[in-house]
């Protein structure tokens, strides 16, 4: 089972990963604010991630680590 880990240090909550996810399992986490003041990306449906790295590839801040 795949998942992503978002590095709050780098994520700026731009949402490009949310749009890039072919499974639609990512969202910006409105519950949390990073030290820089952004809502970071989050995997909302842990069972839906297929580990395709589309989010990683489109992330402009290289904030995502994909593990499987």
């Amino acid at each position: 089972m795949a998942r992503i880990i978002v590095d709050d240090v780098h994520c700026k909550g731009c949402g490009l990963c949310v749009n890039a996810c072919p499974k639609g399992v990512l969202a910006l986490d409105s519950e949390r604010i990073t030290p820089k003041g952004y809502h970071p990306a989050k995997l909302v449906d842990p069972d839906g991630c297929i580990g395709c790295s589309s989010c990683f590839i489109t992330c402009p801040d290289v904030a995502i680590t994909v593990v499987k």
Binding site: A2, D7, H10, C14, Y38, C59, P60, D61, V62, V66
Partner: protein, 294 residues
């Protein structure tokens, strides 16, 4: 090259502690990137290209002999983002600075990372001449049709009728002239080994962009001549759009004006390098055919 993906040192604790036993890393920050937070706006595509360059450096195993030259513009601070040796150049002079480095250390891999104002306006002369000299450097050119750092002025590559701070009624080509199409222009020069225009609006395009960047680095390692990759990019902030709308605007307006594709590739054309292609092009010119004695 098959790589086992590992975290860079600075993420081992921060991110590594969240990885369970039995999980393997599929994608992670490249080691050639430092932990510095990009100074780019949220959704800015500079960061994607920075990552691609860093991944290429990792994959080619050349961080220790790579010297990067940073421009003036939004990516001015990329000397902090890469872990290889870096030099900060004056506005537009990165190709000249890169030339100086490469002439002192031909064994090094030298790249310049430049935006459109830097490369296609104030540094046009340096760009054209480094290219025509066949300087064995790699240039990454970010074309987002605007001056980002200074707050959204007209760039040499701003599109006709594009509204910017200094073309508030839209770029009037009768007064401000036409955009410079760098890839097309440089492809006519004999010293150039490889020019490709790519973009970064989708997974597929980003993967293609990385292939092009890797090739541009490999060409330098192989001594083929000057290589440039033009990345058609967005500037959501100064275009006044969301990152996603900016991608759509890029597809609607930028790509028809700046078509993607390979503009020159001497190897694909059947030559060993730029010099051989140049010799063939000038085959009817006797003096150009004279052999240099070593």
């Amino acid at each position: 090259m098959a790589n086992t993906v590992t975290l860079p040192d600075y993420q081992v604790e921060r991110i590594g502690s969240q990885i369970a036993e039995g999980e393997t890393i599929k994608s992670a920050r490249p080691h050639a990137l430092s932990d510095a937070i990009f100074n780019y706006c949220p959704g800015c595509t500079h960061g994607i290209v920075n990552r691609l360059v860093a991944e290429v450096i990792d994959e080619l195993g050349i961080e220790g002999k790579t010297v990067g030259v940073a421009p003036v513009g939004c990516s001015v601070m990329c000397y902090d983002f890469f872990n290889c040796d870096m030099i900060e150049a004056a506005h537009g002079r990165a190709p000249a600075v890169a030339t100086g480095v490469k002439r002192v250390h031909p064994e090094n891999v030298v790249f310049a990372y430049q935006g459109d104002g830097d490369l296609a306006s104030i540094g046009t002369a340096e760009t054209v001449h480094a290219a025509t000299r066949g300087e064995k450097i790699t240039v990454i050119f970010i074309n987002n049709a605007i001056y980002g750092m200074t707050g959204g002025q007209m760039a040499p590559t701003s599109l006709p009728n594009q509204v910017t701070q200094t073309s508030p009624y839209g770029r009037d080509v009768s007064k401000a002239g036409y955009p410079v199409r760098i890839s097309e222009m440089l492809s006519t020069l004999d010293g150039v080994a490889y020019v490709e225009r790519v973009t970064c609006d989708s997974r597929q395009h980003i993967i293609q962009a990385k292939k092009a960047i890797k090739k541009a680095f490999q060409n330098q390692i192989d001594g083929l001549g000057y290589s440039l990759v033009e990345v058609v990019a967005t500037c959501p902030t100064n275009w006044g759009m969301t990152p996603l709308d900016a991608f759509q605007w890029l597809r609607d307006n930028m790509l028809p004006y700046y078509p993607l594709g390979v503009y020159k590739d001497v190897v694909a054309d059947g030559y060993a390098n730029a010099a051989e292609a140049a010799l063939e092009r000038a085959k009817d010119c006797p003096i150009a055919q004279q052999k240099k004695e070593d």
